[in-house]
C-alpha cells in the first residue's frame, strides 16, 4: 500500500472533554511531606477566589463565577468593616450618633437571610448560600460610600458635605442594587423578577439610610 507509506499520526491529538480539577485540589489520598505547602495553596486559592469576586462586583457582568464558587469571607469582611465604620465612638456610650455595632451586623445578615428565603419561596433556583454570597459581596459599593462619607465628614458637617454624601450614597446604592439584581434576578421566572428585586432594593435602602444619617461624635 504505497499510499499509506507516509501516513503519520501526530502525537499531540487533543483529548476531548473536560476534566476540570482546579489547581490545588488535594484528595486525601495524597501524601504531604510538609504541612505548609498544601495549606498555603489552600489559603492562596481561597484568597484569589475572594479577590476575583470583589472585582466581579465592581464590574458587574453576567458571569457564573460569583454564583458557582460561593464563599462568605467577603461578606464577613465587608460587614465587619461597615459596622466598625458605622460605630463612631466607644460602643457602650448611650449617646453616640451611630447605631450599635451588633445592630448593623444583625440587620445585614438577617436581612440577607430574609431576602434569600423570599426568593426561594418564589421558586428561585439559586441556592441559599449562593444568594447570601451575592448579597454580601454587593455591599461593597456601600462600604466604599461609607468610607467616602466619613472622609467628607472629617472636613465638615454642613450642607455641602450633606449634598456630596447624598450623591455618593445614592450612586453607590444604585450600583449595589443593580449588581445584585444582575446576579439574582436571572434565577427567577420573568413575571416574578419585580417580586424578587424589591426586597433587595429595600435591604440596600436601609443600609444606605444608616450610612447617610450617620453623624459622628
Amino acid at each position: 500500500f504505497p499510499g499509506l507509506a507516509d501516513v503519520s499520526i501526530s502525537q499531540d491529538i487533543p483529548v476531548e472533554g473536560e476534566i476540570t480539577v482546579p489547581v490545588g485540589s488535594h484528595s486525601p489520598d495524597e501524601d504531604y511531606s510538609t504541612l505548609d505547602e498544601p495549606v498555603r495553596d489552600t489559603i492562596m486559592r481561597d484568597l484569589k477566589a475572594v479577590g476575583k469576586k470583589f472585582v466581579h462586583v465592581m464590574y458587574p457582568r453576567k458571569s457564573s463565577a460569583l454564583l458557582r464558587d460561593w464563599d462568605l469571607w467577603g461578606p464577613l469582611v465587608l460587614c465587619v468593616s461597615l459596622a466598625l465604620m458605622l460605630q463612631g465612638g466607644s460602643a457602650d456610650s448611650k449617646d453616640d450618633g451611630g447605631p450599635q455595632f451588633a445592630e448593623v451586623f444583625v440587620i445585614i445578615w438577617f436581612g440577607a437571610v430574609v431576602i434569600t428565603l423570599n426568593s426561594k419561596l418564589l421558586g428561585g433556583t439559586i441556592s441559599f448560600f449562593q444568594s447570601l454570597c451575592v448579597l454580601g459581596y454587593c455591599v461593597l459599593p456601600l462600604t466604599v460610600a461609607m468610607l467616602v462619607c466619613r472622609l467628607v465628614l472629617l472636613a465638615g458637617a454642613g450642607t455641602i458635605s450633606f449634598i456630596i454624601r447624598l450623591i455618593v450614597v445614592v450612586a453607590m446604592f444604585g450600583w449595589s442594587t443593580l449588581a445584585s439584581t444582575a446576579f439574582l434576578a436571572d434565577s427567577q421566572p420573568p413575571n416574578r423578577k419585580a417580586l424578587v428585586v424589591y426586597p433587595i432594593f429595600l435591604f440596600y435602602f436601609v443600609i444606605s439610610w444608616m450610612i447617610l444619617t450617620f453623624t459622628p461624635q
Binding site: 484528595s27 486525601p28 511531606s33 489552600t42 454564583l67 465587619v80 460602643a91 433556583t125 441556592s127 449562593q130
Partner: protein, 239 residues
Amino acid sequence: DEAGRGAGGMLGGQRGPPGPCALTGSPPQALVDDTEDVSLDFGSEEELALRKARIRHPLATFFHLFFRVSAIVTYLFCDWFSNSFVACFVTILLLLSFDFWSVKNVTGRLLVGLRWWNQIDEDGKSHWMFEAKRVPTIAASTEAEARIFWLGLIICPVIWTLFLFSTLFSLKLKWLALVIAGISLQAANLYGYTHCKLGGQKRISRVTSRLFGTGDVAQRQSRRISEDGTEEHGKTVPR
C-alpha cells in the same frame, strides 16, 4: 541500576541464582535463614520516626484547638482584655471564622482524613459532598490525633450552647448575635464531619438520605459519599 541492586541488598541476592546455599546442598531452609537476617529497608529514618510518633501533624493539632479555645477564652475574659465591646466582638468573630475555615479545610483532612464541601453544578443545583479516606497512608493520623480532633469538635459547640443559655438568662443580649454565630459555625463543622464519618455505614447513610428525601445514596468505590444519587465526574472543588 547498580545502585538499585546495591540498595536491594541481600534481598536482591535471594532472587539470583542460588549461590553459596546451593553449594552446601541445604534445602530452602537456608534461604529462609538468610531472609531472616536481611535488613529490609522500608524507608528512611524520618518515615520510621513518623510511623512511631503519637502525633504526626503537630501543627494541625495545635491549630485545631488554638482558634476554638482562644475564642472561648476571649469570650469568658473579654472584660479583662479590653473595655470595648466592639474589639472583643470582632476578635471573637475573626477567631471563630478562622477556626471554621481551618477545621473544615485543613485539620479534618490531615487529622482524620475526612472532608466535606459544597459543589454547584452547571444547572445551579447545589450538592453537599462528604468524603472519607479509607486507605491508611504513611502519614495517616494516629489514635491520639483522632481523639483530640473529635473531642475538640464536640466539646466546643457544647460550651457555646452553654454560653447561649447564660446570655439569654442574664439578658446580656448584645452578645447574643456572637454566640449564635459561634454555635452555628461550630455546629456546622460538627455536623459535616459526623456525616462524613457515619457515611461509611450504609445503613445510616440510607436513613439520612431518607430523612433528607434525596433518593438513595451511591457509595462508590472511590470512597466518595454524596447526599443525592447523582453521578460524580471527578469534580473536586474543596473549599
